[in-house]
């Protein structure tokens, strides 16, 4: 029982981190109907910026404080992501208003290659550490209930808490503010949104900025776990089954989807894995997503499309 709970908790926490990456996809899809292929590279790019500036700033400005270096580097990286959003709107999306989804998808594919190149040129292509003071040692909880308690990773726990807070804030922003409402309006119909005077360009800059900052948070968390390196951009691949499961248009869906994938991966590895000789964690999420597509193509919380005939 204790072992099962340990696995479950581990899965939930990893799942929260998948949700965070998936959230980037959902935000942009909701507001512009674009499946942003560049989301994974944005995570890498943001993390690279953060890691490098955290190293450079103390040298340039001559201070020692690690805390200050991390805070400043985070702000600089956030500004870079906002500037990036502005450039993307100006140079790419602004030119493609009212185009097909597939055209926009191809554009984001282009953006992802561009970012990959420019990121590694500007920031280097080695493995860089991010140290934001996440505790590496595990903790034991519920020692009174189970003999020896449950072993959990404190690092994962803190990361999951940060992710949960961010997700809650974003949900409120989307549902409760006038700008959030305008974002949802743009997502539903570009043309109609323009006709009532919603500035499409500004909305897109906002949404890509938010997605950029979400990518930055995801990048910092994953980066401090795995180190900042090229493979970080592949974390986004793990987010694909999450959005399929949760639905591309739903913020809560991204969270529940992430948790299901996280838990599913861990539990399947432990309980089903041995029958296949182990290692099923890597592909289990995709199979789960595939089965889901057969039953509910719009995802758990996606909007069901009903066309009048």
């Amino acid at each position: 029982m204790a072992f099962f709970l340990e696995t479950l908790l581990g899965g939930l926490m990893v799942g929260m981190l998948y949700s965070l990456v998936a959230l980037g996809f959902v935000l942009i899809f909701k507001a512009s109907g674009v499946f942003n292929f560049a989301q994974g590279v944005m995570v890498l790019f943001a993390a690279l910026a953060m890691a490098r500036f955290a190293g450079w700033l103390p040298v340039w400005l001559g201070f020692e404080s690690k805390w200050l270096a991390n805070t400043l580097a985070f702000l600089v990286a956030a500004l870079i992501m906002i500037a990036l959003a502005w450039f993307i709107e100006r140079l790419v999306l602004g030119k493609l208003v009212n185009q097909d989804g597939i055209t926009l998808l191809m554009a984001t594919l282009g953006i992802s290659y561009f970012l990959e190149g420019i990121g590694q040129t500007a920031f280097g292509s080695d493995i860089y550490p991010i140290d934001v003071g996440m505790p590496k040692d595990p903790a034991f909880i519920l020692e009174g209930v189970f003999p020896g308690g449950l072993l959990i990773s404190r690092e994962d726990l803190y990361a999951a808490l940060v992710a949960a807070a961010l997700v809650a804030l974003l949900s409120l922003f989307f549902q409760k503010t006038a700008t959030g409402r305008a974002l949802r309006a743009v997502a539903d119909d570009h043309q109609a949104a323009q006709s009532i005077g919603i500035p499409l360009g500004r909305i897109w800059v906002i949404v890509w900025s938010v997605a950029g900052i979400v990518a930055l948070v995801a990048g910092v968390i994953w980066g401090s776990k795995l180190g900042v390196q090229f493979s970080l951009s592949l974390v986004a691949l793990k987010a694909l089954p999450v959005v399929i499961l949760g639905g591309l248009t739903s913020v809560p869906g991204a969270i529940i989807g992430g948790l299901i994938i996280g838990v599913g991966e861990k539990l399947s590895e432990i309980y089903i894995g041995p029958y296949f000789g182990g290692g099923i964690e890597i592909w289990f999420a995709y199979v789960l997503a595939l089965c889901f597509l057969l039953v509910r193509p719009q995802g758990l919380f996606g909007e069901k499309i009903i066309d009048r005939v």
Binding site: T179, R181, D188, A193, E303
Partner: protein, 261 residues
């Protein structure tokens, strides 16, 4: 009819030509719209009515001609700039924000009236909170006016077609426009719904003094509610005047009924 007095020309369309590739959608079309009037553009299917409306709304850029709004002439405008100048529109094929509630749909129409910035909204600073309340009051008035109170929180995509059309009108009204462009507001409606919609259009015109430009291909509906009518056929203007005049115009009759040659 009512106390509204028809004023000066507020919208002047001069020699508009629009073509898509080799197809001429509009050829040298000119007409004007006076303040507070109900101006209809009619014509058979494919006559270029929607193209005309889209030119005024800034969706299409005509190759030739000019459009003046309150004496200000413009050639290149996008929909958002037109909206800022006090022109609202509805859509022929519904273009509502389907995933959102009736209330939220109409609230988006208040977007241009909102002055608080993103950060104020994000932390729900006093001004943002107050603004949301005042805008909500305006929206509730529109909801009452259009008699859609029971559906306030219903997701728009789930409403029957006739009601969706009303929400579309409500969203446009929320902008408090000076000119309202209606693209086939009665298309696909039954007789009762058409009567309701006609009543709403006349009330808007009467109570708010809104100038209305409406497109319709069903001639009978239009004749009762418009002050003046423009008739288009194959992208050319073939008639212009009071409903009675237009009805007896032989070219118009021919366009609608066909002629023996």
């Amino acid at each position: 009819m009512s106390g509204r007095a028809i004023g000066d020309v507020i919208l002047d369309v001069r020699d508009i030509s629009l073509s898509f590739g080799g197809v001429n959608a509009l050829t040298d079309v000119s007409f004007d719209v006076r303040e507070h009037e109900v101006r209809a553009i009619i014509g058979p299917n494919g006559a270029g009515k929607s193209s005309m409306l889209n030119c005024i709304n800034g969706v299409y850029q005509p190759q030739k001609g000019s459009i003046s709004l309150r004496g200000e002439t413009f050639r290149h405008m996008n929909s958002r700039q037109v909206a800022e100048m006090g022109v609202a529109r509805t859509f022929q094929s519904l273009a509502l924000f389907k995933g959102m509630s009736v209330l939220d749909n109409i609230m988006t129409g208040r977007n241009l009236k909102m002055t608080t910035n993103l950060f104020q909204q994000a932390i729900r600073w006093g001004a943002a909170e107050r603004e949301e309340t005042t805008q909500r009051i305006a929206v509730e008035r529109i909801i009452d006016f259009l008699e859609i109170q029971p559906y306030r929180h219903t997701q728009v995509g789930r409403l029957p077609y006739g009601l969706q059309k009303r929400v579309d009108l409500g969203r446009a009204l929320a902008m408090e426009p000076q000119i309202l462009l209606l693209d086939e507001p009665m298309a696909g409606m039954n007789v009762e719904e058409k009567q309701d919609m006609s009543r709403f259009i006349l009330d808007v015109n009467d109570e708010f003094g809104t100038t209305i430009v409406l497109i319709e291909h069903d001639m009978s509906v239009v004749m009762d509610i418009s002050d003046r009518v423009v008739v288009l056929d194959y992208g050319k203007k073939i008639g212009d005047g009071a409903p009675a005049e237009v009805r007896s115009n032989p070219d118009v009759v021919a366009a609608y009924l066909g002629t023996d040659h």
